[in-house]
Each structure stands twice: as C-alpha cells, then as structure tokens.
C-alpha cells in the first residue's frame, strides 16, 4: 500500500504543477512530502505545530521521493503533504496570507491534481466558486470541462455563470411553502466560449 501511495503522490505532484499553470496563469506551485519532526526542533518552531494554516513553519524534513524504509519504519514521525504556491509576480510565503479567492483556487488545484492521478467515479462540488471572481470562475470551469470525460461532476451553485458549464441542468426552487421542487433539462453542450473578455 506504500507503493500505491508513492505512485499516487508523485502523479498528483506532477499534475499539481500543471493545473496550477492553468488556474494561476504565470504562477507556480508544487506539492512536497514532509516528515513532521518531533522533539526540540518543533518546540523552537513556536506555534508551527499548532496553527493549521501556513504550514511553512512546521519543522519538517523534505522527503524527496518517498523513502519507503523511512515511511514504513518511522512510525513515530507523521508524514504530511505541504502545498507551495506562488501566484504570478508574487513571492512564495505562507498559505495563510493568500486571499480568499487564491485559497479556493489552490484547494481546487489540489483536488484536481489528485483526481487526475486517481479519479473517483463522481465528485459533488457545492458552491466551491463562492469566493472566486469572474475570471477565476472561468478558469475553473474551463478546467472542469476539459476533464469532464474522466469522472462525473455534480456542481451545486446559485450562480448563473456556472450554469454554462453544464451538460445537464437541474433547477431547484421552493414556492414559499417549504417544499423543494426539481426541474431538469438537458443542454446541447458545445465547446463553450466561456471567457469573451
């Protein structure tokens, strides 16, 4: 099972760099496997262990190419996946300092990177574009359309722009009587010219 993880991680890491190129034009990103060290180093690292966001400070050892022996035997150390992202023109630093939209795009890049390595049969994405501005929504939807032959996607949204990416559309309404009603409609899906501007 360790080999399966290693293989999936390596593939996800390659995909992540590629997907980041699409979601953050001009930007760079990578995934790192790290071993969170215990002991004096982590105590000196301050709240690096406690705070969950901006995990750059977690005292950790880079595990390049998973050392199967270490990962197998070193049950004491916890292994983790670190995300590094550098939007165009900016300097890499803490994930926590990223904007709301940038955090969402980074999370989506990670999700798609893992999906491309090992697709699940279906994905349900509920309002994942809430923090995104229009150009980022378009980048997300273009990526979604590009990979929609590899898994089924159910996207839940209150935004009209997102409707344009649908093969099949479900309208949910509530007539003021507390009861939900669903109407469905298939759409002829042509390669969408999603971003005219």
């Amino acid at each position: 099972i360790r080999d399966a993880f290693d293989e999936t991680f390596q593939a996800a890491a390659r995909n992540f760099e590629e997907v980041v190129g699409q979601l953050f034009p001009g930007g760079r990103g990578r995934l790192r496997l790290i071993r969170e060290d215990s002991g004096p180093r982590s105590v000196l690292g301050g709240d690096g262990g406690r705070s969950s966001a901006g995990d750059v400070d977690v005292p950790a050892t880079d595990v390049d190419g998973v050392d199967q022996e270490a990962v197998g035997h070193d049950a004491e150390a916890a292994y983790g996946v670190e995300i590094e992202i550098t939007p165009a023109g900016k300097a890499t630093r803490r994930l926590s300092l990223l904007s709301g939209g940038e955090k969402s795009m980074t999370a989506l890049a990670f999700l798609f990177a893992v999906f491309l390595a090992r697709p699940c049969p279906f994905y349900i994405l509920d309002e994942v574009e809430a923090a995104l501005d229009d150009s980022n929504i378009d980048r997300f939807l273009s990526l979604l359309r590009r990979v929609s032959d590899r898994a089924q996607f159910v996207v839940v949204t209150h935004q009209r722009r997102t409707m344009e990416a649908a093969d099949c559309l479900y309208g949910v309404s509530m007539a003021g009587n507390g009861v939900s009603k669903v109407i469905s409609r298939r759409l002829p899906q042509e390669p969408p010219a999603l971003s005219a501007a």
């Binding site: 292994y79 990223l98 980074t106 159910v154």
Partner: protein
C-alpha cells in the same frame, strides 16, 4: 461507474418522493438561496453512510427527516436511494446497477439496503471503497468546505491522497 439517480422521500425539504436522474459529464444544480440544493448534497453523503449529523448540518440524525412546513405535516421517516451505474464492472458484484438506500425514523432507528436486501453499513462502505470512494468521501466538497484543503494540516492532505490511492 457513475451516479445514475438519486431519490429522496421525507428527507429535509423533500417531503414527497423526488427523483433526480444524472448523466456522465457535468450536471449543475442551480437555484436560489434556501431552495434545497445543498440538501441534495447532504442526501448523497447520508445515503452513502455519513455517520456524523454535523456533516449534514444536524444535531441528531433525525434532523434529516422532513419536519413540516406551512400546509405540510412532518414525515415519520426519511429515505434516500442512490443508484450507481455498474456497467463497467467497477464494483465486484454481478449487477449492472447497484442501489444503495438508507432509512431513518423518528426514534433514530434505521437501516441500509443494497439492491433491496437489508445490509450493514460495513457492506456499503466495502462496495464504495472498491470504486475509490473512501469513508471520508473526499470527492464530496460541502458548502463552505473548499478552503479546508488549504487550512488543514499537512497530515490531513496526506490522508486525502492515501484515500484515493
């Protein structure tokens, strides 16, 4: 393998039997605030074995039973059925369709069924893990949860990859 249909009855804002048929590709569920879209997300999570009421926004699991509205009586039970298309044989069962359903009543009693026959939660989870749908259901991103990948610990992200692997 893909999600073929979802049927809700007495579940949250769906007092009467409601069925959604899905296709491979991209389905978009759209509608105004409070219309019932995320209730559909909750229904899929719930039918496939969600154990925490908090994950479907309740305090106790019975919270998912339609509680009444103007001109509508509360229902005594909630029922959700998910039908998975298995024509690619992703699930190691001799059936081209796999139906998984879950029921709960006001006392909190409930059951799971697979293709009509009563089964245990572990049977459902086993079938799902065959297809890469793990216990954590990382392929379902609930409303407000997308940034969790970025704010979570490195260890949790590793688990996400392990579940897929």
């Amino acid at each position: 393998m893909y999600l073929k249909s979802l049927t809700l009855k007495g579940f949250k804002s769906f007092p009467d039997r409601t069925r959604l048929d899905f296709t491979p590709g991209v389905s978009v569920i759209v509608g105004p605030n409070g219309s019932g879209k995320s209730n559909v997300t909750d229904a899929v999570l719930w039918a496939l074995g969600e154990q925490s009421p908090l994950a479907v926004r309740g305090q106790s699991m019975q919270d998912v039973i339609f509680a009444g509205a103007h001109g509508q009586q509360a229902r005594a039970e909630a029922l959700v059925e998910v039908v998975l298309d298995n024509s690619d044989g992703a699930i190691d069962l001799p059936a081209s369709e796999i139906s998984i359903s879950r029921r709960i009543d006001r006392s909190g009693e409930g059951e799971y069924r697979m293709n009509g026959a009563r089964c245990r939660l572990t049977d459902v989870l086993e079938v799902l893990s065959d297809t890469g749908l793990g216990r954590e259901m990382h392929s379902v991103v609930s409303q407000g949860r997308v940034e969790a990948i970025v704010t979570s610990k490195p260890r949790d992200r590793k688990m996400l990859i392990e579940e897929a692997a």
